[in-house]
């Protein structure tokens, strides 16, 4: 057990260390595209770590998490648009471009919709929960598609990246390290959270909701709070991706995006928090390398995902830390 623990922390340390070294390595190879690519993976990792809180620990399989990602991104996009042209957004407020205003607001708005979606969805469970969250995400997708004032289907370009006192977010390195710091902070916060009494209750609800109720807890309340926290983190990641690509579109809320986030969590190893970080890196590296082979890279990625599901349980994190169980005998041959 002690050995296992140390191996796990060592691997975690190694992955974060590696991520910290990406910019210098990229500069050494004179390939700044690497920074952009890894930055994207970092941002998806933020959203996926947040999703892992509810999937891996709470047993709430949300197939609509892209909704919060998109809501966060549109918050940044819409506020930025008004800040740029000085037009009225709401009650005479002309939006904002300050990260310290926009990002917390993105989290708040996402958490607010998370509360509404959660309240209705959490009345159901299992497959119903998967499908109802999917349907809610579609609802928001179509909302933004028909929001012609903010670009509708074509999306919305950000005129400026958000501003943060003392930092230049246009600088690749600065933005990369900012996202890296945010990922670390989110990861650290969630690790503390799942180790706390609150986290134990969430895990308890996943295992046996009736028992938790008998112990005097209100499972719905705990699950709802966890859902909102996860939504808020998704919103934050959305605001970051809006800044990263300087463009916001309904594509961010498309259901395949929710699927992608789930793939990241499961591929990396759900219920480990650090797993989604591996998952995001693995998926993006896989995509990038397959794209260089063939434009039809998805025809290879699909079967790879299936093989991972069938033969590796516990994902990459389980594999690296030796906790993964090969589910089928022949799995050992492939390991």
């Amino acid at each position: 057990m002690v050995k296992n623990f140390s191996r796990k922390s060592w691997v975690t340390l190694a992955i974060f260390g590696l991520l910290a070294l990406v910019p210098p390595i990229a500069h050494a190879f004179d390939n700044s595209f690497l920074i952009t690519m890894f930055n994207r993976a970092l941002i998806y990792a933020v959203a996926a770590v947040g999703l892992d809180l509810i999937i891996g620990f709470g047993g709430m399989v949300s197939f609509g998490h892209a909704a919060f990602f998109g809501i966060g991104a549109y918050t940044a996009g819409i506020l930025g648009t008004h800040a740029f042209d000085g037009s009225d957004f709401i009650f005479g407020w002309t939006g904002s471009n300050a990260a310290l205003v926009v990002w917390p607001l993105a989290m708040l708005v996402a958490a607010f919709f998370g509360a509404i979606i959660g309240l209705i969805s959490l009345r159901t469970s299992g497959v119903y929960f998967i499908m109802i969250t999917l349907a809610f995400a579609q609802l928001f997708y179509f909302f933004f598609v028909s929001l012609s004032q903010y670009g509708g289907e074509d999306g919305l370009s950000l005129w400026d990246r958000n501003t943060l006192p003392g930092l230049d977010l246009y600088d690749r390195n600065t933005f990369y390290y900012l996202c890296f710091t945010i990922l670390l902070a989110v990861w650290f916060f969630l690790s503390r959270l799942v180790a706390s009494r609150f986290g134990r209750v969430i895990v308890g609800c996943k295992q046996n909701e009736r028992r938790m109720r008998a112990l005097g807890y209100d499972p719905l309340l705990y699950k709802l709070v966890a859902f909102c926290i996860s939504a808020a983190i998704g919103g934050l990641a959305g605001a970051l991706i809006a800044n990263h690509s300087e463009f916001v579109s309904p594509g961010l809320l498309h259901w395949s995006r929710s699927g992608e986030l789930m793939v990241i969590v499961i591929l990396g190893g759900m219920g480990t928090l650090v797993g989604p970080v591996y998952g995001a890196l693995a998926l993006f590296l896989l995509e990038e390398s397959l794209v260089s082979f063939t434009e039809h890279w998805q025809v290879i990625l699909g079967p790879i995902l299936i093989l991972v599901v069938v033969f590796f349980r516990g994902g990459i994190a389980g594999f690296l830390t030796g906790n993964g169980k090969a589910s089928i005998k022949s799995g050992d041959d492939h390991g």
Binding site: G126, V263, V310
Partner: protein, 304 residues
Amino acid sequence: MLLFLEQLLNGLQFGVTLLLMASGLTLIFGIMNLINLAHGSLFMVGAYVGATAIAHGSGFFLGLLAGIAAAAITGMAMEFVIMRRLYRRDHLDQVLATFGLILFFNEMVSIIWGRQPVAMNTPDFLSGTVELIPGAPYPAFRLAVIVTGIVVTGLLYFLVMKTRIGMWIRAGASNREMIGALGVNISLLYTVLFGFGAALAGLAGVMAAPFSAVQSGMGENILILTFVVIVIGGIGSIRGAVAGALLIGLTDTLGRVYIPDLMRLWLPPSVADGAGASLASMMIYILMAVVLAFRPRGLFQTHG
């Protein structure tokens, strides 16, 4: 009034297409407890193969058969190679694996047929109109879709409720060990059942092809609507699938036509059209939220 009747029939026709998808999906889910996101891919395979066969002069019925057969074979191969490893797994694993299948099929289709949509015309003998009531011509093909859907669903209901195979299927849904112990080859039964569900998706695909562009990714839109149908109706219930499909088909079709008009009563036209269109496209999801808020397990909840 005539417009309303026409829209009602259009809604019915859309509902029937959804019903074919939903009954296949809910049969597989209700009995094998398997979430198959790739059910939409089978719809797509049916549409592509059907449209291609017809474009090469096979004639409508042979094309229809080709589409159904292609979907059924694809479905059975899918079950045999991948799905049977996942019956006892978490729903999460099933979602991920079938998500991988979607990526595979979408890309495979664009490798074979290219990125451009494939067009399919309605067959000549169904390209006219029928006067249901005097003065109200209605496209014959749409009417044929409605009739086919109703007949097929009726047969399905009979098969599941009244025949011996149906009895095995229902028994397998309640207790798979027991039905296996009684000497039924359950693994064969499941492969066949999966193929049957796939055939229904293929049929829906060929019949929907003239109304929509046959292109990569076409399966997902209808898949999500099918999920909404099943969730509203109650997972595993054929009656629920019927109720859900008609409710969604009518709500979506009528909503798109009438909601903008209704909004014009309160709002200036320019605002009403935009808001109306956006509300109309969200309508079925709102309906689903309302239904589930009151009945979390759907309108016709089944066992378990």
